[in-house]
């Protein structure tokens, strides 16, 4: 039986939703800086996304705000999930990619170059570093359970607007994939398009001076050759990195997954 509240007061998904590996009681040692909540500014996020995606975004600011509000209301109305709004959550727009045919290729040729530019413009002294030196084309696919297929299909024709919730902190891959089957169908595991869009819109999300922020897995994708290898965005000092690493379905207080919704 599911607990009455699927997310706790801090917006973290209840570990009781799964018997897979989760750090049940978090000591909140690796954490996104709470101060980012005050820095999150929808207009700034829109401005950045429009600036870096350019003609791949065809909606204006008013429409963006309207669609985000609609999504927020949807979450608000469900008493079992509304605590998720207490997690750090960031709105985004997915670009239109008319010629999309491969996730790896999009990461290499579109998402990483855009994020490098956005990050460097915001933080000229620091860097976004891609540690994956091999070509990603043909090497990555979406996991079936992530509900990601529909997101990808929409990429070719329209701008989806959505919200990313950092709610699966300290969950393993298996636990993240398991809880998605128990949440309303409009939730899915975050993929590269949403996470990169969030960071292009708000490049300072994972920077903090006093303590260590977490590593964020791109939860909905896997390496085609080795399913134990996933892809991550990880801070390194004041810099950001993209990399791959084995996870073996382990839970780790430094490893976070996330959920997204789109309209």
């Amino acid at each position: 039986m599911l607990p009455e509240k699927l997310f706790d007061q801090l917006g973290r998904c209840s570990p009781e939703l799964t018997s897979e590996e989760v750090i049940k009681k978090s000591r909140k040692y690796f954490y996104v800086d709470e101060a980012v909540r005050e820095k999150l500014d929808d207009s700034e996020i829109f401005k950045n996304l429009k600036n870096y995606y350019n003609d791949q975004i065809n909606i204006d600011y008013d429409e963006f705000i309207q669609r985000i509000s609609k999504l927020r209301n949807k979450v608000e109305q469900d008493s079992s999930i509304k605590n998720i709004r207490n997690s750090i959550n960031i709105p985004f727009i997915l670009p239109i990619i008319k010629d999309h045919n491969d996730i790896g290729k999009d990461i290499d040729t579109l998402l990483i170059p855009k994020l490098i530019k956005s990050f460097k413009d915001k933080f000229p002294d620091y860097d976004f570093v891609n540690h994956c030196k091999v070509n990603l084309e043909g090497n990555i696919s979406a996991t079936k359970v992530s509900r990601y297929d529909q997101i990808i299909e929409n990429l070719k024709t329209k701008n989806s607007v959505g919200i990313l919730y950092l709610s699966l902190n300290e969950f393993s891959f298996q636990a993240a994939e398991n809880v998605i089957t128990k949440l309303p169908e409009y939730f899915y595991l975050t993929g590269p398009y949403e996470l990169f869009s969030v960071l292009i819109g708000f490049p300072g999300l994972l920077l903090r001076n006093d303590k260590y922020p977490p590593l964020i897995w791109i939860s909905s994708i896997k390496n085609n050759t080795n399913p134990n290898i996933g892809y991550v965005i990880e801070p390194y000092g004041y810099n950001l990195t993209f990399n791959k690493r084995p996870h073996f379905n382990q839970a780790n207080e430094y490893w976070w997954h996330s959920l997204s919704i789109v309209d």
């Binding site: 750090i23 009681k25 000591r27 040692y29 690796f30 002294d125 860097d127 540690h131 030196k133 001076n209 006093d210 303590k211 260590y212 590593l215 080795n226 134990n228 290898i229 990880e234 801070p235 390194y236 000092g237 004041y238 810099n239 990399n243 690493r245 084995p246 073996f248 382990q250 780790n252 207080e253 430094y254 490893w255």
Partner: protein, 372 residues
């Protein structure tokens, strides 16, 4: 070994011409060792570990440094400060041969002889022989006092490949004061030349105490090392050993981040710096273990909790204990004993009234450990 095979062993991306040359030389002289070193990245990608083994056969030392992590293991501390003696069985040459064999069977490739000061050990040559330089990459730590041209050439001739030389300030008086040894700075500078002349691979090792990263002295040292083509290994000060009474030595994230930025400009690195495709973060067990003079295995040079004794438990099982431990196994970006206040407190509480370190398996670390 055929030329093509040698090239395969050294053909990693992002290597400097200097590093490529060194690896080619090693592949020619010690093909078995070079092959094991080349395998480390693929082992890590498969989720396997390949820790460097630090061997503390003896704690004898001609220095008495302000920050020494091994001070509490030394006879002089046990006898003069605690009025007790080391009465546990000591590591023998036969123990080292057995450790070398077990490590080789696990694909491990690197040994560091440390101490104390390794170059005062009378049986240093026998220790190198027991490790077996044709099977393992052998490194020695040193304070440099005895590393002149003759000694450097000798240790190279018996199979040592690399020297890690301690330098704690680029200001002569400060280094000598920190090390409590007049003229030690000059001896380090002599040792730099001696190691390079003997074609030993050399890195300088320095301790970062809180606030040092911002100083001109530290950047001068980074520049000196880079100009000489020498790597500068930065070790965070830990609140253990002689430094237990110096909580101000513990660094902040800001200190660590300053070094991370200097890595872009200088040949400087810490134990958590990504290198040659390896992104381990904190290297406890995953990248390093220490074997004390009583054959106890600790997960890093600064954590005084044992994961087991090699006379009773296999190296393989001890590494497994470490990897399934909730503090040690999981990937993390910070230094467990140098930065995590909860673990530092736990460590201080459990070591406070101990005379003989490390704390045995089951009393410090155990299979029941939780993060709370």
């Amino acid at each position: 070994m055929k030329h093509n095979e040698q090239l395969t062993l050294i053909s990693e991306k992002n290597l400097s011409p200097d590093e490529l040359k060194k690896r080619a030389g090693l592949a020619k002289r010690k093909p078995y060792v070079a092959k094991k070193l080349a395998n480390i990245n693929s082992m890590e990608e498969r989720g396997e570990i390949s820790p460097i083994i630090r061997l503390e056969k003896s704690y004898l030392c001609n220095f008495q440094c302000t920050h020494c992590s091994a001070e509490f293991y030394m006879d002089r501390h046990l006898e003069k400060k605690l009025n007790t003696k080391e009465d546990r069985p000591q590591m023998t040459i036969e123990d080292i041969k057995k450790i070398s064999k077990e490590a080789d069977e696990l694909g491990l490739a690197r040994f560091v002889i440390t101490g104390g000061e390794p170059l005062v050990m009378r049986d240093f040559d026998k220790v190198v022989e027991a490790i077996d330089p044709d099977k393992h990459y052998v490194i020695t730590d040193t304070n440099g006092w005895f590393l002149d041209d003759r000694k450097a050439k000798h240790i190279k001739s018996i199979g040592v490949e690399k020297v890690q030389l301690s330098l704690d300030s680029f200001i002569e008086e400060e280094h000598d004061k920190f090390r409590n040894k007049p003229h030690s700075y000059k001896k380090v500078m002599r040792a730099v030349d001696a190691a390079l002349n003997a074609d030993l691979n050399l890195i300088l090792s320095t301790v970062l105490i809180g606030g040092r990263g911002k100083t001109k002295e530290f950047e001068d040292m980074c520049k000196f090392a880079t100009d000489r083509g020498i790597g500068l290994y930065v070790s965070y000060a830990k609140p253990v050993g002689s430094a237990t009474d110096h909580p101000e030595f513990v660094i902040t994230k800001e200190d660590a981040d300053i070094v991370r930025e200097l890595e872009k400009k200088y040949k400087v690195f810490t134990h958590m710096t990504p290198s040659y495709g390896s992104f381990k973060g904190c290297i406890t067990v995953k990248g390093i273990i220490t074997i004390t003079s009583t054959n106890e295995v600790t997960p890093c040079p600064y954590i005084d909790f044992s994961l087991g004794n090699l006379r009773k438990t296999s190296l393989k099982e001890i590494l497994n204990r470490g990897m399934r431990n909730k503090w040690l196994g999981p990937h993390r970006p910070d230094c467990l004993i140098g930065e995590d206040p909860s673990f530092i407190k736990l460590h201080q509480e459990k070591t406070a009234n101990r005379t003989h370190l490390p704390v045995p398996w089951g009393e410090g670390f155990s299979d029941n450990d939780e993060l709370f």
